[in-house]
């Protein structure tokens, strides 16, 4: 089966400027829903990439494919699989939400009766059930965002492209929006591309991230794998005589580095759960003062990728050669 998105030496030129420069990648595993974060500083080419996927721009070289369909040559088939929530306000303000969303559902190919039914269903789903007969122009900013989400999912697309979905939302509405995005992939099996400047939103919802800078992909990460890897690296602080701890850690095939003062850096093998450390420290009669996972936040990944940060803060400082070896194995 094809990947959700495949970019093959994709170049896009707008006017005389080359915005995307021969980018290649395969994003999103086929099958169950995946959320992909699209990150990058302003002017990196995120919007151009989204618009190229939507068939709005013709590639100057290479190709972009969504679920195996070429975005330019099979534009109609691609659009039948897509839902798009643009960043800016985008609707006919005078029309009631139900009318507008029904019309868009029909344009996506739903029969009239099904389109009306799905428009009602979707508006209730996004929390606009009671306001569905009001003109969209009278909605608050948060309601407009929800209406935009409703039109993107009313026809049940395979892939939903969300451009800054939490822009202008208050904390409650933001939480609701992120919950809806998670539901889209987990319960309804949709693939999601989330383009956002809010790294926390991406971190909370996405399984993969692609970071663009100056029209090229500077980093692609599987956040799920990163989270799993982070869970393997533990910082431990104990009270008591910890001289026997290294041997005890060896028994569970974990590697430990004593930093002095009861502080340890430990790498756990894949199959060992963190709870095993409690047993090990108990067997050495040690009290645990602190136990933390190393957490390479998305912000750090992003800053490293765009060149504002050389490495995770505090990671380089005080790192000993043996420790570096442990990091090398991570």
């Amino acid at each position: 089966m094809s990947h959700v998105i495949e970019l093959d030496n994709l170049s896009v030129r707008l006017g005389r400027r080359e915005i995307l420069k021969k980018i290649s990648c395969r994003i999103g595993r086929p099958g169950s829903g995946r959320a992909i974060g699209l990150l990058g500083p302003n002017g990196a080419g995120k919007s151009t990439l989204i618009q190229t996927l939507l068939g709005f721009h013709k590639p100057s070289a290479g190709a972009a494919r969504i679920l195996g369909f070429d975005c330019h040559h099979s534009s109609t088939q691609v659009k039948a699989l897509l839902g798009y929530m643009p960043e800016s306000d985008s609707f006919v303000a005078q029309l009631p939400a139900i009318t507008f969303i029904r019309l868009l559902a029909e344009l996506s190919g739903l029969p009239p009766a099904a389109a009306l039914e799905k428009a009602h269903e979707t508006l209730f789903h996004v929390g606009l059930g009671e306001a569905r007969y009001r003109p969209i122009g009278t909605y608050s900013l948060g309601m407009k965002q929800m209406a935009k989400l409703a039109q993107a999912i009313v026809h049940g697309p395979e892939l939903v492209i969300l451009d800054e979905p939490t822009n202008g939302l208050d904390p409650g509405a933001r939480t609701r929006m992120l919950k809806l995005i998670r539901e889209m992939k987990e319960e309804h099996g949709m693939h999601v591309i989330l383009c956002s400047h809010l790294l926390r939103d991406v971190e909370e919802t996405c399984d993969e991230v692609v970071i663009l800078k100056d029209g090229v992909i500077v980093h692609q990460a599987d956040l799920e794998a990163e989270r799993r890897a982070n869970r393997r690296f533990v910082e431990l602080e104990v009270l008591g005589d910890d001289s026997a701890l290294a041997t005890a850690l060896g028994a569970i095939r974990a590697e430990g580095l004593n930093e002095g003062g009861g502080r340890w850096r430990i790498v756990l093998p894949g199959e060992v759960e963190i709870s095993a450390l409690w047993k090990v420290t108990a067997s050495c009669s040690l009290a645990i003062r602190k136990l933390t996972h190393r957490r390479d936040t998305l912000e750090e990944i992003f800053l490293k990728a765009v060149g504002h940060l050389r490495a995770t803060p505090g990671e380089e400082a005080g790192r000993k050669p043996e420790e570096a070896a442990i990091h090398g194995r991570l």
């Binding site: 939507l54 659009k79 609707f91 009239p112 099904a114 269903e121 209730f124």
Partner: protein
């Protein structure tokens, strides 16, 4: 189960074809248009003239009603190309006003509200988008042009007999082709004005102004250059000349049918270029 209790689920049924998607917009827009009193009023008004023409056809086919008025009256009441040319000229005025009412709401709100990316991210092309809006105007105008014309032709054939239909075999084709050309031009003008101006009222005024200003400009140039050939640039006059040729009536000497057809074709191309330029999902600044 009530819709608010059901929750969201993805649509998994059959999808409609391209043509059914194309008529979705006309259905919505016609519903909205006929909900407006002034559109309905104008629509009813536009049907008065066809009613009068029906009366005329009835009277013309009942010799006993006018035989006492002599032979001149008989010639005046003849149903021929001239009769249909007058019918088409009057109806064309209503089509312009109807297009000025219906046209501006078709594209201007989508551009003003930045809704084009939503339409173009659906499985429809720019051609489909324009075609669906064109169907709105063309369908509406057909109701006050082609439909009454067909009724008149059928009525006349019914009353005058098959012999009349054989003598004037070119009239149905001429009326249909003439109206179809006019509807094409008026619809394109309405759509181009709607795409060019974001404000509906201004866009509606522009549709009417387009015909009057072009006509005025053509007459002004005629006066300046002491010629009549600039009338080819007046779409109403050019169309009238083509109708006269199609209905085989006596045309005025000052206009050439081929040049009129060429000028209208050039106008149509220009209007399509305006639509092509304005209807883009995203604006690219080079």
């Amino acid at each position: 189960m009530a819709v608010y209790k059901r929750g969201y689920s993805r649509y998994t049924g059959d999808l409609t074809g391209r043509w059914q998607r194309l008529v979705a917009v006309p259905r919505f827009v016609w519903g909205r248009l006929f909900g407006q009193r002034y559109v309905v009023a104008l629509f009813v008004l536009a049907l008065f003239w066809p009613l009068l023409c029906c009366l005329f056809v009835y009277v013309a086919n009942h010799a006993e009603l006018w035989s006492s008025f002599g032979r001149d009256m008989a010639k005046m009441l003849e149903i021929n190309g001239q009769f249909f040319l007058v019918f088409m000229n009057v109806q064309s005025v209503f089509t312009m006003i109807l297009a000025a009412m219906a046209g501006p709401g078709l594209i201007a709100p989508d551009i003003a509200n930045n809704a084009l990316p939503l339409y173009f991210s659906r499985p429809q092309s720019r051609v489909d988008y324009v075609l669906s809006r064109f169907l709105v105007v063309a369908g509406l105008l057909s109701l006050v042009t082609i439909l009454p014309a067909l009724f008149l032709l059928a009525m006349q054939t019914g009353l005058a007999g098959f012999r009349w239909a054989l003598d004037f075999w070119y009239l149905p084709a001429g009326v249909l082709a003439g109206f179809a050309l006019w509807i094409l031009i008026v619809s394109l003008v309405a759509l181009a004005c709607s795409a060019y101006v974001k404000w509906r009222v201004v866009s509606g005024a522009l549709v009417l102004a387009f015909f009057f200003l072009l006509g005025g400009a053509a007459e002004m140039m005629n006066a300046v250059f002491r010629t009549t050939s600039m009338s080819h640039l007046n779409p109403a006059k050019a169309m009238n000349r083509i109708w006269a040729a199609l209905l085989r009536t006596e045309p005025g000497a000052e206009l050439n049918t081929a040049v009129c057809a060429a000028s209208l074709a050039a106008l149509a191309v220009l209007l399509i270029l305006v639509l092509e330029r304005k209807l883009r999902p995203v604006e690219v600044i080079s």
